[in-house]
């Protein structure tokens, strides 16, 4: 499978925070969810791969092209949507059309109008009169109107009501129907990623803990609620981490199917992304 992005040893150092040695490859035609707690480095990672902040890396390439060498060309194929719109609220959709038609080589005015109509966005109204949902839909109209191949969303669904979020997830799904279209989506709302992500990248304290396919995660991980005896019985290789509660222990395990075969009566539930995140962030790793 071809990669949309290849990242090798990407590091960004701040005085009080380091995003350290991130190495991942993002395959074309997939939706990649980036998860992590607040301040884990998700936005720093996105800003670094976009060149918004300068970072150090051994390799950063998009669609096989080196980012440093072909930054401008690569950005023709990117669409980025942040948590809040960064367009001046005094602008109208019409003026954004004028501005971006002179910014993107592939800007498609007709397509833009089509999306505005589809999303019920007024062409002449100033953005300051738009609701948050309307602003976000306008961002999607912009993103889809210049033939972007890679859509990057940085907490774009945060603060939106469930109905708008669902509509946005549908838009993302439609976008990735084309196998050349890729989506990177960082989100606190992991339930959104449960619905659409093909891969999950987990960033914790500036480090990439894993990148796995969503299906593998669902298949391999499991949660067992038991007691201390059960925790002692399980092999430490199978335990990712555990959380001790007042009268029980919750254990996140890997090799769910093998464990289920051994302990046939044991109830093992499939975790959500949020639960996996919680175990990685707050759980204790069993020591030998």
């Amino acid at each position: 499978m071809d990669n949309a992005i290849e990242i090798k040893n990407l590091t960004k150092k701040y005085k009080d925070f380091i995003l350290e040695d991130i190495s991942i490859n993002i395959p074309k035609g997939t939706i990649v969810g980036i998860v992590g707690e607040n301040g884990a480095g998700k936005s720093t990672f996105i800003n670094a791969i976009l060149g918004i902040v300068q970072s150090q890396y051994q390799k950063l390439s998009y669609f096989g092209k080196d980012f440093h060498q072909y930054e401008k060309e690569i950005k023709e194929d990117l669409a980025v949507i942040f948590e809040t719109s960064h367009y001046d609220v005094e602008l109208t959709a019409q003026w954004i059309d004028r501005i971006l038609s002179h910014t993107y080589r592939n800007w498609n005015h007709e397509l833009y109008l089509k999306y505005l109509k589809q999303f019920d966005i007024p062409y002449h109204k100033k953005l300051k009169f738009f609701s948050r949902g309307m602003k976000m839909k306008l961002e999607f109209a912009i993103a889809f109107s210049h033939d972007a191949k890679l859509l990057i969303l940085d907490e774009a669904t945060s603060g939106l009501d469930p109905i708008i979020r669902d509509e946005i997830l549908d838009l993302i799904r439609d976008f990735t129907e084309d196998e050349n279209h890729t989506v990177i989506m960082s989100s606190h709302i992991t339930s959104d990623l449960d619905k659409i992500a093909d891969y999950i990248v987990y960033i914790h304290q500036g480090k990439c803990l894993f990148m796995q396919t969503y299906d593998d995660m669902k298949e391999n991980y499991g949660i067992i609620h038991g007691n201390q005896n059960l925790l002692d019985t399980l092999s430490h290789d199978d335990i990712v981490s555990y959380i001790t509660e007042p009268y029980s222990v919750s254990i996140l395990i890997q090799n769910r199917q093998q464990i289920q075969e051994i302990f046939k009566d044991l109830e093992i539930s499939r975790p959500t992304i949020e639960e996996i995140m919680l175990f990685y962030a707050k759980g204790v790793k069993k020591q030998c």
Partner: protein, 215 residues
Amino acid sequence: MLGIMIKDCYESFFIKKNLIGMIISSLCLIAILILMKSIYSMILIVVAFPMIGISILQYSMEQDEISKYDKILLTFPITKEQIVQAKFISTILFTLFVQLCLSLPIVCLFTGVYHVTSVQNSFFIWMLGFILSFIMNSLTSIGFFWLGSKKGTVVYMIFVITFSFAYIILHFAFTVDYLLSLPMYVIIIIGSILAIILNIISYLICVSIYKRKHS
């Protein structure tokens, strides 16, 4: 690059508060124009008017800061150098517009209708206004890129006050006739070269400030 210039233009002329600000400053100068029909007021207007050329940078930067526009701008297919270039070109074009469409008719009015000085002297004063505004743009641009729109405006005001004091001192120290008897062609050529050099240096400094801000 043209996209940035269109946005800057919109923010300067289509946002009510910015447009009102520009109209008020123009009205003040027009009031001077009507009330004072001397060569001193002509010099004041012709030199001061083009200095509002920098306001396009101030207004656009103010709006960019409010919406944090740089964040989305840096995802567009445009380099940091081109972003600074676009801001410089917008300022230069607006200064040229003011110079040709406002300052030049005023000079014609003072020369042809008020008869305050000769055509040749008027041309020199007009050229001097041209040069001074470009020198002013180069200096204040650094202030705006370095300190942002609010503090940059303070820097701009400091320069305006300095220029005004210099004008007053010149007014008391020398007569206008003496100043106009100086080798004007030489002053204009040296001034033009200085304005070009200062603008190139200013551009390079602004690019490095912009890159540093986004590193």
